[in-house]
Amino acid sequence: MSELTTQTPQPTAAELVDWLRGRVAAQTGRPAAEIDADVPLNDYGLDSVYVFGLCAEIEDQYGIEVEPTVMWDNTSLAPLADALLGLIAAR
């Protein structure tokens, strides 16, 4: 996992939101442009019990460990990106 991930540089908030948007789009089959960073993921069909796949992708991409419950404490992409930026900076 680490060879791939340590190379991902520190993203800006906008870059991180864009990447997350792309993942949610891929998972839900919607165009990325439709995913609003301030709308709860639940509204796009990702129920709370079924959001952990995204969590695994985040860990993999940025080489960090996140508590799956970060997805519950931040239910849309903008606050989620904020929570993740600190973790990525600290890796």
Binding site: Q27, G29, G45, L46, D47, V51, F52, M71, T75
Partner: protein
Amino acid sequence: MSGGAARWPTGLPGVLDDAIEAAAAPGGPFHPATGARLDAREEFPADACAVLDEHAMARAYVPAELGGVPGGLPELVAALRTVARRDVTVAVAHGKTFLGSVPTWVAGTDGQRRALARRVLDGAVVSWGLTEPGHGSDLLAGRLTAEPTADGGRRLDGAKWPINNATRGDLISVLARTAPEGGPRGFGLLLVDKATLPPGSWSPLPKEPTHGIRGADISGIRFTGAEVPADALTGGPGDGLDVVLRSLQLTRTVCTSLSLGAGEHALRLAHAFAAGRAMYGTALLRLPLARRVLGRAAASLALADAASLLAARAAHCLTGEMSVVSAVVKAGVPEIVQLAVDDLAELLGARGFLTEHHEHGAFQKLERDHRIVAVFDGSTAVNRASLINQFPALARLHRTGTHDTEGLAAAVAAGPVPPLDFGALRLFSRTGCSVVQALPDAVGRLAALAAAGDVPPRVPELARALATEATAVADAMAAARPAGRDTPPGDFGTARRYERCFAGAAAALLLLADPGDQVRVTSLTAALERALELLRPGHEAPEEAYEPMLETLAEPAKELIA
């Protein structure tokens, strides 16, 4: 074979087995006629439960460090299976206390854990209240509220239904809305002691007539301003979903014991029938088709047993992977067993259908009883959905072949399991599923054993074929998009195939761990044959593949628990 009482000859499953055997004498609470009579009258099997209480069954529901049995989840699975192979209704009725207690083991304070352990060891009945009228699988749809009171406690309003033991139970774990808006942080879990509630603040809902487990207390409970103290909360007020999802990883694993018991019972009844049934101048048991059906059913059970045993051991040795493992076995094991039961029903002909013939209609009763296993504690579809959610990580890790070598070595070994670290249960597995990911590696090692003449050459052949299937499944998983409620049906089929890969991998790894035990090798090889049949549509195991299982069936009870 490996999952049963013989592992604990002096432990609880052995003690229970003897006690149940004695109680199965004519007129006794475990005699089939007694079960049939209670079933017909929809009457609770109180005397059978009393036998289990007398022999301290509850010790299997409590962690070792709190006074429970030393063998952890594997010992609990063996104990409940021993009950279920006589009467699934009794196992469901009694075993529920484990389900209701788990949240406290997972997230309770030291004081809460000690207090509940004492109650359970004293025989208290605990139920597990998630479902509400109108809301089942969708845990966050529940309306029952737990509002704060002035003195720091909570006031419960709403109903839980249908709930096993809701009426008979002393305590109930309740998932309740702690924030009006709900959401993943808006639910808490409360352990409610019915005896301490103000009179009039709760009432039982009537027993529901059911298709199977007719004698069980399937009812409900309604709270109207029921006040509970602050320490009723298990975990924080917003931790309910987290605690429930981690608890389900253990309860779902243990549910497989009900299927193992039901399957064993079905096989025993069908074998006895075939041995005694004279036809065409011979016995049914001598007809090649009957032999095939019985042998294949025995192989299915060996396969289910391998999956269940390894899952129960994984709870102790690969704890962080239980989000995958529990979903895999809760969906896969009841289905593999149900297919076997269906085949056996056909062999029994009329006797699988008549309610008063052949062992007092025990077969049709177990067949009805077993249906519930795929429904409660998360249906097959719900478990598959949660598995699909983990597909991307599983696919990626399968490609790399990485796995937790140390944890897996402990899981497949025969020795005692380490204590279960409840805090290590995670909402999703970081290391995927070591059992499946280790399959390619096991192929090479089995081939080396076969080359040295230590296992039959068929074993690495089968393991290699299974590894090929697992790779194809991993490719399908990589292509899937885990889309929550919009998941396409094809992904559920992929999940089913992954479950069968897990079961096959479990059989291969257990065989590899102890290739010297001939009986075990025979039954695990048959399990591998069956796994491949289940994975390859149209593929049939070679003609003689299941014949060795027939020999071990000659003494059914001994073989299957040995």
